[in-house]
Symmetry: D2
Subunit: 262 residues, 4 copies
């Protein structure tokens, strides 16, 4: 095992066998010692679910390549706290996702959740997504991933760093932008059907994609500028600006204390 080469952990939510993951592994292989720990089946839209109430299996597919019968967050947890416990990764990368993770998508995304679990456990992490539909050409996204990972590995990184990267599909992006999360919607449809036994069932979500035109947003960068977007995310969801407002609420029967004032 090379002491000098950085250890890179790769995960995703599409499964250890997926094309996007293989493209990411190839992209970062020249940059370090690559370990794959990923779900054994497709786990899209599982968000940050973690399996506390059932045990997990780890299957060694080949050297430094493992499949976990759990969620993306389970995979990251087992990689960092078990498989690589004695020799923690320097960087975690997740993806390349078969589809976008822009704006509010990050709340639902398994690709982002894997990276987020890495960052929560102190491993700087980057999530990569290709803004495309099938057929997927991962070439440009993989080239961008290699360049960004090389740059990241060349500097000290804060342990809870988390970057969310989206690369436009179908073009060779000429560049990238440091962005904020935008806003978009798929429509808020619920479609209702009746099954052959006469019982109703419902499909969530629509197909009418729209994003707000917000300068500086990831949606704008990818959709309008055809550039890769790099959005830093943080792990502290506290909305400090609303704390002041809340302090003005009166609660019948309960006294408000200044935090830690005793």
């Amino acid at each position: 095992m090379s002491q000098a080469r950085p250890r890179i952990l790769v995960s995703n939510d599409d499964g250890y066998f997926s094309e996007g993951l293989r493209a990411l592994v190839e992209a970062v292989t020249p940059l370090g010692e690559v370990w794959v720990v990923a779900p054994d089946r497709e786990q899209s839209a599982t968000s940050h679910a973690i399996s506390l109430h059932r045990p997990l299996r780890i299957q060694e597919i080949r050297e430094r390549w493992y499949a976990v019968d759990g969620t993306p967050a389970d995979s990251a947890y087992l990689a960092i706290n078990h498989i690589l416990k004695e020799d923690r990764p320097h960087l975690m990368v997740s993806g390349i996702n078969h589809g976008p993770n822009l704006a509010d998508d990050v709340m639902y995304s398994g690709t982002v959740a894997a990276a987020m679990e890495g960052a929560l456990l102190g491993v700087p992490a980057i999530a990569f997504s290709l803004v495309s539909r099938a057929p997927f050409d991962f070439g440009p996204a993989a080239r961008f991933a290699r360049s960004l990972v090389a740059s990241a590995l060349s500097r000290p990184l804060p342990p809870r760093m988390l970057l969310n990267v989206n690369i436009p599909g179908g073009v060779e992006p000429d560049g990238y932008a440091i962005t904020r999360l935008g806003r978009h919607t798929y429509g808020y449809a619920v479609s209702e059907n009746i099954d052959p036994r006469g019982r109703k069932y419902y499909w969530i979500g629509g197909n009418e994609y729209e994003h707000e035109d917000i300068p500086g947003s990831d949606c704008n960068a990818v959709h309008l500028e055809k550039r890769a977007s790099v959005t830093p995310l943080h792990l502290d969801l506290t909305d400090v600006h609303r704390m002041t407002d809340l302090a003005g609420w009166a609660l019948d029967g309960f006294q408000r204390f200044i935090p830690d004032g005793r």
Copy 2:
């Protein structure tokens, strides 16, 4: 149907039949017209998972009380975009969770995810959790929930408002504090076992709870002060402070553009 009374949507992650949910329903019933839309079985630690690839069932348990065979986020989505589509709720409450949702717990919590989905869909939302183990006494938590909901309903609320509330167990809290998310850990254990067929399996997570002593944090309020904590959360995960730092990275082969500069 009363026009004047506010419509309150109740959900959770422990299931429509759970004791904590019933306590919350009772608490808010005097304050408005209550609708329950909740998972049909326990869904802890499912986080913000949403069911895009399979259909869902809705079962009417009784008037204004529905069970969904999906995640907490599925329940919130179907409640707001289907069941209550024509007559949207004024406020959503989620819980009362059987256990804490402090610090990083909010990343994994189904209770918080239900409320977060409400807020993402424009319904102000509050998640309630009881920091206790069985046996649970929901009385004090329910009284605090009623007081906070009454106060919330008495003022205009921003549509994407999201509050995360934890109430200490086993005491009557004398008050509350407006807090930030703290930091804690359950230990990073992975326990390894062998099943009767000779195959290894793994349990995630430990039992050695520790929280950092951070003044103003939710952990401090609940654990040290025995007060309810009210933490406002926001839905934009962008880490604006790290954007500047990232602008200093050089990426080989790719040019950085100023966002939306064309």
Copy 3:
């Protein structure tokens, strides 16, 4: 604990809380000491599936009433080999199923599988099904179950006895018949649809019920005579009549031996 009273194990596939199970429990309570061990959620059409690769939970709902997070066969296995290990049941009853289990239905039925697992483990077992659609009136079926169970408990039973009982719905059956399995079909439809994301999905099975008119069959008894059908099943699937025919096949490269001739 009464020594004199027979111990009766009750299970089903609709879940420990279901109306049909409660009707069956009430029916047999005067006849012995009743124990319920049943799935914690609906498990129709799981057939004889058993959980070898994941662990199970047992939840004590109340005295002598348990829920298992597994299949009907799991429930029967844990009841007989764990919960009642030291004091095995004299008889197992399964049901009352919310719907028919006639003819080939027994291959798919979870209600029958629970009873079959009991019989395989040496506990004589009876499966009960109500041939009806909602709304279900379990009264007549429960009365028949009580009478049959009383008769069964009054005599020595072979350990691997398995009876499959169907009771017509909507009438008070004036009697019953000892029957054979008939033949029926629900049509062999597959309905094809497209989900909101543009992917195809399929529903199995149709709604065009037809049964062959076979004198002495369970279908005839229930559908034509409006009587309860009692069909004894056996656990040895060997088709002895076809053994002779097979002996006439020649297999290239392999010699046929008379069994156990050496």
Copy 4:
């Protein structure tokens, strides 16, 4: 498409990608036009479960090779009633299972259930299992399968024919026997453990294999004689011998009718 060549449907319960299935496909490819329709993931011990309450997906892996996100019985149903509806298979083969399906195993086996569903739908079917543990050498089993399938295809077959074949592992069997189902047990263990959150969980089933010494049984042929066993199964579970005995029972309050006597 060849009119002259018989159409052979291959399925299993270990998944479309499994080594045992590939061995079976290779074995029968010279004998006809081979179609694979199999589960997309491992489905052992699912028995005859069929998915009536959720929709299924069919994924075309390559020409005449499909994966279904359901059970073995689902796969057989969709193959025969949808994919090959217009041009039904002449024979169905299932396996080669990674492990035995002897004696009562046929009740739980997904491999047998796939074949059984074929037979129920009128397609003669054969289930193949290799009585071995890893590492598996499918060579001898595949040779036996080819010989048996060739023989089967050379004659008219009854539509509901179902054969259950077990081949001993680690040896080249010199022959086979036409057998009956035997009797065996894995022990009736339930192992109890406590998870890291302090909750109990249970594993079903033991590891202490024993079979009864029954001349003419499949267990004897495979374990004692090291020969392949071919056991014909039938689909009518009626226990005709017990019908007479049952006719002697008196049921309080209910009259017994001679079937179809009106």
